[in-house]
């Protein structure tokens, strides 16, 4: 079938890129270089897929192709946390240096925040858009707090904060990586039975209810899963703003289908292609002069503008 062919193309392309990334240009010293590259590529695959899938699910829930889960404010919360820890305890404290501790604090805080947000909001107002608006307000609030602290901080410490504000796959801790993978696999198993609802939900809220989806409940559960995914991915590599948006829309354009069983897998593969390809460019062409997230954000930003202009024309 046509869709399966497209999936196969994506799969082969991502396998080729991963293989090039792993094996190309090793001058020797295999046992040192290969495990390093392997953990880096694994981190890319895990975070890339999770961010892509989370974004597609999020866009289906909100019926909007230019939203990303970052509007809930998790990215800003992460930056705020990192700034806060370094601002209060200094860049040499365990909170900033010990990766396990830092990861636990970041993931914990983001998930607790998401739960509180949903809990408070879903009790009264069962409206996704209201949730998004409150999320944006919180995101802006966190952002302002972060910049306030960043202005006051010692310039050397600020350099460290700034490093954490951009995603980087270059130094991912392997213990944390395995822990994240287990966590993500558990949530994916939980998520599995909700996949079938996504197709119907893309028809809109009213049609979904008409066709027997317990809409509010399903949306709530999906939003929780999304929050966990985004939290883990962000704590693992840092915030990547435009990756999800870019990847989800490229996937829609490429697959041209509404079926989420294909869309979800394809988005994960597109994400891997984009990230591994991008990382290759960073490593080999820019020789680590820039970070991947700068490139992703640049391309993503340009694509975002294109999307807005295109939508504008259609109206």
């Amino acid at each position: 079938m046509r869709l399966k062919l497209k999936l196969s193309i994506l799969l082969i392309l991502s396998l080729i890129l991963v293989a090039i990334y792993l094996f190309a240009g090793i001058p020797g010293n295999w046992e040192y270089i290969l495990p390093r590259r392997f953990s880096r590529v694994l981190a890319i695959i895990v975070t890339g897929s999770v961010i892509a899938i989370a974004t597609v699910v999020f866009q289906t829930i909100t019926n909007n192709r230019i939203l990303t889960p970052s509007v809930i404010g998790l990215d800003s919360l992460y930056v705020l946390l990192q700034t806060f820890l370094i601002f209060v305890f200094g860049s040499t404290s365990a909170f900033a240096v010990n990766p396990n501790l830092n990861f636990a604090i970041s993931v914990g805080a983001m998930i607790v925040f998401a739960f509180l947000l949903y809990h408070l909001l879903f009790k009264k107002q069962k409206n996704v858009y209201f949730l998004l608006l409150v999320g944006i307000v919180f995101g802006t609030f966190f952002g302002s707090l972060s910049s306030f602290m960043q202005v006051l901080i010692d310039p050397n410490e600020f350099m460290i904060v700034q490093n954490r504000m951009f995603a980087s796959f270059n130094n991912v801790n392997t213990d944390i990586l395995w822990f994240s993978i287990i966590l993500i696999i558990i949530t994916i198993i939980y998520f599995w039975k909700y996949i079938k609802f996504l197709d119907v939900m893309s028809l809109g809220k009213e049609q979904a209810i008409n066709l027997g989806v317990d809409y509010d409940e399903v949306v709530k559960r999906l939003l929780i899963v999304i929050a966990i995914w985004i939290s883990v991915a962000t704590a693992l590599v840092g915030p990547i703003l435009f990756l999800g948006l870019l990847v989800a829309n490229v996937t829609y354009e490429f697959m041209k289908t509404y079926r989420h069983s294909y869309l979800l897998i394809a988005s994960a593969l597109v994400s891997i292609v984009a990230l591994v390809g991008g990382q290759l460019v960073v490593d080999r062409i820019f020789s680590f002069e820039t970070t991947l997230s700068v490139i992703i954000n640049f391309i993503g930003g340009a694509y975002f503008l294109y999307l807005i202009l295109k939508e504008n024309k259609e109206w």
């Binding site: 893309s202 209810i209 008409n210 041209k256 509404y258």
Partner: protein, 252 residues
């Protein structure tokens, strides 16, 4: 039978639907008429659980809807709202297939495919079943959505202004289909409609709402009456018998 008892829905302090009770007869076309803002669409949405009610009960075949699982309800009652804008690009056949979701949860069985084919045949969409919805005219699109509702195979079909934005030919076509659904397949159809003449010619039972309350209800012959319509619309409407149909002249 659909029984509505003391339903109230408030937005802020204004009651959009105020203590409404009505029972909708089975195997008939029931029309909700009334001026804009009377609460017709809201009532329809509450009956089909799209909107939560503040108080009151809705019983479908003696079961209160909030106590029934959403999926079980989707096999009993179907609703079609007036604005059917989709964010996804679907062909007619794909859309109609969605009607089988309550039964198959997305994995179509052989039985599902027969239902889909029958629904497409019923709405005479055969030659355009592989066309995308955005390539169709308003009337064809509406027929595709009705085909989806038919595939859903529910006893009760609720339609919110199904003739919205349709020309005369397509309006008549849709109303004839609804009539056939009731007469041939024994469905119960409830519509919100603005044109009293369509209500007069095609429905069996008419419910008139105003300011969130039911002010008159009854079989259509009692309802298409100068006095009743004056109460509902605040207009003096002449009624003429043409070919055994009661036609309202409200144009001047």
């Amino acid at each position: 039978m659909v029984e509505v008892q003391d339903i109230t829905k408030k937005y802020g302090n204004t009651a959009v639907v105020d203590q409404v009770s009505v029972s909708i007869p089975k195997g008939k076309i029931t029309s909700f008429i009334g001026p804009n803002g009377a609460g017709k669409s809201t009532l329809l949405s509450i009956v089909s659980r799209l909107i939560t009610k503040d108080s009151g009960e809705v019983r479908i075949d003696d079961q209160e809807i909030s106590s029934v699982k959403s999926n079980a309800l989707a096999k009993k009652i179907a609703i079609l709202k007036q604005s059917n804008h989709l964010n996804v690009r679907l062909t007619v056949k794909e859309l109609v297939s969605f009607g089988r979701f309550p039964y198959s949860q997305g994995r179509l069985t052989k039985e599902d495919r027969t239902f889909i084919k029958d629904a497409i045949d019923y709405m005479e969409l055969n030659d355009m079943q592989d066309k995308y919805l955005d390539q169709l005219s308003g009337g064809q699109k509406q027929r595709a959505f009705i085909a989806m509702v038919i595939a859903q195979d529910t006893d009760y079909i609720l339609l919110d202004e199904p003739l919205n934005n349709l020309d005369m030919k397509h309006s008549v076509q849709i109303m004839k289909v609804l009539r056939r659904l009731v007469d041939e397949l024994g469905k119960t159809v409830v519509i919100v409609i603005h044109d009293v003449n369509f209500a007069s010619v095609y429905s069996d039972y008419i419910v008139a709402l105003k300011h969130g309350e039911i002010i008159h209800q009854g079989p259509k012959n009692d309802m298409i009456d100068r006095k009743v319509l004056r109460d509902v619309y605040d207009m003096d409407i002449q009624i003429q018998d043409i070919d055994q149909c009661k036609i309202c002249l409200y144009f001047n």
